[in-house]
């Protein structure tokens, strides 16, 4: 279902400033047909006052992309280019009474087209602007863009970055990279894995195995309707039984392997899990 405000619907159904200005003073182009949305913005700018006299757009995209583009043209008409540059993607969204969060990238596209057009007006060549490492190959999103949009909109999660830039919304391969960028921006410390203690006493080992089972293993089995019972520990041999839905489950071999892997990771490399 569409959760668009009345204003988004109005601007989608009756968009203002459609088309192309003949002999424009500035052209901004962003997006591509592959990515599912694209915007071409043409401006008439008074070269003496740097004032935007007219703005027109052409958009390929969904309703909110069309509405955002139209809103942008309304917002910048009559402003000087310096004033126009103050308009953020949030301003575009607010002008429309808000956008669904997963459609925020439409407002970002508007802001980008404006930047592109003004750079074009100032004669800054495209190649210089488009430098930067490509993070999301599916939607052609650079690290530079992710940083910029994340900082401007105070984005802290990968999902938010996807909502605002589409990055990470395709194959998902770059999600970890986006997370690293976010950590870098906000300097959030990575929760580190508990270090493997060296040379455990038997007593410590038993306690640690019990702790890992309680903390790491049991909750996951219980989430699938199963359970685990710790029967005995003899050196590195851990004897367990599977309970509940795990009993006779075709996946039980896989489950046991994953229990063993977890214990190897968190307790000792030598652990062997046996089922009773």
């Amino acid at each position: 279902m569409w959760e668009y405000t009345k204003k988004v619907r109005d601007y989608f159904l009756h968009p203002k400033n459609i088309g192309e200005i003949e002999n424009p003073d500035a052209v901004g182009e962003v997006g591509s047909i592959v990515c599912g949305d694209a915007l071409r913005l043409t401006l008439k700018i008074d070269r003496d006052t740097n004032r935007i006299q007219d703005a027109k757009f052409q958009t390929f995209g969904c309703a909110s992309a069309i509405a955002s583009s139209s809103a942008l043209t309304e917002l910048i008409k009559g402003k000087t280019i310096d004033e126009a540059m103050q308009i953020s993607n949030q301003d575009i969204a607010e002008f429309l009474g808000g956008l669904p969060k997963e459609k925020m990238h439409c407002s970002v596209m508007g802001r980008e087209a404006l930047e592109d057009a003004i750079a074009n007006f100032k004669g800054i060549p495209k190649a210089v602007k488009e430098e930067g490492k490509l993070v999301c190959e599916c939607f052609d999103v650079t690290e530079e863009k992710i940083r910029k949009v994340a900082i401007e909109n105070r984005l802290t999660t990968v999902d938010e970055v996807t909502d605002y830039t589409k990055a990470g919304g395709g194959c998902g391969e770059c999600r970890e990279e986006i997370e690293a960028i976010l950590r870098d921006i906000w300097s959030v410390k990575v929760p580190e894995k508990p270090a493997i203690p060296k040379k455990l006493t038997n007593l410590q080992k038993i306690a640690l195995i019990q702790e890992v089972i309680e903390r790491e293993i049991r909750p996951r089995l219980q989430a699938d309707g199963g359970d685990i019972e710790l029967i005995d520990i003899d050196g590195n041999r851990v004897m367990i039984a599977l309970r509940g839905m795990c009993t006779g489950c075709v996946m039980s071999d896989v489950t046991i392997n994953s229990i063993q892997d977890k214990l190897k990771e968190l307790v000792s490399e030598g652990i062997v899990v046996e089922v009773h």
């Binding site: 088309g19 591509s32 958009t59 390929f60 599916c138 939607f139 896989v254």
Partner: protein, 403 residues
């Protein structure tokens, strides 16, 4: 404004006859069919009568039908049953264009260590049986291939595949949710082991489905509890909906051949008119092997959500494979698997008809649709020349993935 509902592959209206049949079981006849007293116990017979109607529609026997809560449950049950019945076999074969009920369940099993082969389709959405033959092996526990595709409407050669698998003694399940009630299906001529169907795709209510399991097929229940459905699916029967499904199957059987002709007539009229009135439009899928009620059309240079929302203004309901309507940022996995160019996927629209659509409704869509396409194209920065330009630019990963 009247609604013109052309999204029947998503769900269908409940037939008035079905509702009438159901109502007593939502009012005074509220008993539990498992009860010993007559008040409840009498419903058992009604459930069995509904079962026989479902069985008849597909040529099955009474006790080969298990009632479930939906098509997804039927699909999940069939796959899980196969896996549990052959614990030493770790290979599953399906296709890249299945419904998520099969596709995501297979992905889930792949994460649990199963080997899953996803068969490709060609540009017309057709399967190549040689691709299947190449990947069958001793380790194959199950082949699950849909009868007809929900998006393209393309019908797969299920009978031919079933014959091959029968000879090889490999278990075969077909998700026939989009096919049952729309085209004739007779399990006597179709040696599938399991077949899923869903009530709300054939004018029964949502929340009821069935799984056909051929006699002699190894079976493990998925939902475990009481003895209902002869121990094959626990949970108190959804009596009213089961009775509704029985009635819906009876109606489908009675009118099937007339309906096929009627729907095909309307669908072809709509399709031909739109291809004529909208330049740069094309059909997605094999036009010779298609459900009679489905057409999937691509309109270049415009985006599907925008088309749908404009249609919505006229009360016209359809669906699209575009990214903006998929619930994620990725466009339709079916159209991508078919190698439909991205430009065409974003502008894809599916119309799916039912017996309740009228010619006047189709005429209205024929009148409105070209206006919408023309208007949105005026807004678009793309056109034939721009597209050419784009296609010569370096391709993104998405395009590389399909090519």
């Amino acid at each position: 404004m009247n609604t013109i509902y052309l999204d029947n592959n998503a769900t269908t209206p409940v037939a008035p006859e079905v509702l009438d049949e159901m109502l007593p079981y939502l009012k005074e006849l509220y008993g539990n069919p498992s009860s010993m007293h007559t008040f409840g116990g009498q419903l058992h017979e009604k459930v069995e009568k509904a079962r026989s109607k479902v069985a008849q529609l597909i040529g099955a026997e009474l006790d080969e039908i298990i009632f479930t809560s939906c098509g997804t449950e039927s699909d999940n049950t069939a796959i899980m049953s196969a896996v549990e019945s052959f614990p030493n076999k770790r290979h599953i074969i399906t296709t890249r264009v299945e419904h998520p009920a099969v596709l995501n369940f297979c992905k889930h099993l792949a994460r649990k260590g199963f080997r899953v082969t996803y068969l490709p389709v060609n540009n017309y959405g057709q399967l190549n049986i040689d691709d299947l033959l190449k990947v069958l092996d001793e380790d194959t526990a199950l082949v699950s291939i849909m009868y007809a595709n929900n998006e393209s409407g393309v019908i797969f050669p299920i009978a031919e595949i079933a014959e091959i698998l029968k000879k090889r003694r490999i278990l075969f399940h077909t998700d026939a949710v989009q096919a049952v009630g729309k085209i004739p299906i007779d399990v006597n001529k179709l040696p599938v082991d399991m077949l899923s169907l869903s009530g709300h795709k054939l004018h029964a209510p949502k929340g009821v489905g069935a799984l056909y399991v051929r006699k002699g097929t190894r079976f493990h229940p998925y939902i475990i509890g009481g003895h209902q459905e002869r121990g094959r699916r626990a949970g108190t029967e959804n009596v009213a909906s089961i009775i509704g499904l029985g009635k819906a199957c009876e109606l489908a059987m009675k009118n099937l051949s007339d309906e096929i002709n009627y729907l095909k007539g309307l669908r072809d009229k709509l399709e031909n008119a739109l291809l004529k009135s909208c330049p740069d439009a094309s059909i997605n899928g094999d036009i010779n092997n298609r459900l009679p009620n489905t057409t999937n059309l691509s309109f270049e240079y415009v985006e599907g959500e925008a088309i749908l929302l404009r249609l919505n203004e006229y009360g016209i309901c359809a669906s699209s494979g575009s990214a903006c309507t998929s619930g994620s940022l990725e466009p339709s996995h079916v159209l991508r698997a078919m190698g439909v160019p991205f430009t065409a996927i974003h502008g894809s629209i599916r119309f799916s008809l039912s017996r309740y659509n009228t010619e006047a409704e189709i005429d209205r869509v024929i009148e409105i649709m070209p206006l919408i396409i023309k208007e949105l194209r005026l807004l678009s920065p793309f056109g034939r020349d721009k597209l050419e330009q784009f296609l010569h630019s370096p391709k993104s990963k998405f395009l590389r993935k399909i090519s």
